[in-house]
Symmetry: C2
Subunit: 128 residues, 2 copies
DNA sequence: ATAAGGGTTCCAGCAAGTGGAAGGTCAAGG
DNA sequence: CCTTGACCTTCCACTTGCTGGAACCCTTAT
């Protein structure tokens, strides 16, 4: 497979795949013309990373998860720990965003949103 | 005021204040010794930006909001529009994060998290 | 022969700062 | 008078996770 095929089948942009090679996730062989040549295993790995990323795992998390994935002696507790930390971060972000949401919704509701200059949104930003 | 005082009173790190000067938000005078000298107006502006940032507005949003803040002829509709767009982005992020949260919570619940290698989290990441 | 549609490399940039080095300034204490 | 420590200054690099673009090569079809 060339990079375009892998891009299509993994759902990752070709640029991202090259980037993932750069940072050491994969080391595809090269064809005589210099094109990257991917096998199913590399495709699988890339898809794995793509799914992990879409669940909010960082690149470093992905490295750890892949190492565990390939270690048949691993303890599931190690995986669970990484997932839990990720979940905590996601929860923290949700909490932050919900607070913003609440404040913004309130301010937007208060704001007439017409031609007049009076605006509770700016008033709020201008005061503590 | 020196930068340290402004940092304390605005809640922004000194580094961030210098950065905000770099990108054109403020232009504090300099004392003879080269130190930045801030007046209350600049402090107020920085605090305004800090509050806007904490509500999720981007730097570019802050520029627009500040311009509107200082324009006594503004229409509150313009402010409201910016706020609504920000709210939409916040909502989108919350939606994404909630989906991650749901999937992750489910996987974590399924995972024994013990010394054994069997792990539904990795299984899920390995398959579609 | 040429054009379209792959592929390659490398460099720059995004957001929004943060960290650190190397050095100038100022007030207080020995 | 000198030093110490807490400020302040500039400048450059780094962060995360890519993405865009330029300049170029390869392949296939017309």
């Amino acid at each position: 497979m060339n990079i375009g095929d892998v891009a299509e089948r993994s759902g990752l942009p070709a640029k991202t795949i090259r980037y993932y090679e750069d940072i050491g996730f994969i080391k595809p062989r090269r064809s005589l013309n210099g094109y990257r040549h991917f096998d199913e295993k590399e495709l699988h790995k890339l898809a794995f990373i793509g799914r992990a990323r879409s669940l909010g795992f960082t690149i470093e998390d992905c490295r750890s998860l892949l190492a565990l994935y390939e270690d048949k002696e691993r303890a599931s507790a190690d995986v669970k720990e990484i997932a839990k930390q990720n979940l905590n971060e996601i929860d923290a972000k949700i909490t932050d965003l919900k607070a913003m949401h609440a404040t913004l919704t309130h301010l937007i509701d208060e704001c007439a949103g017409d031609h007049r200059p009076d605006c509770p949104i700016l008033k709020k930003l201008g005061q503590s």
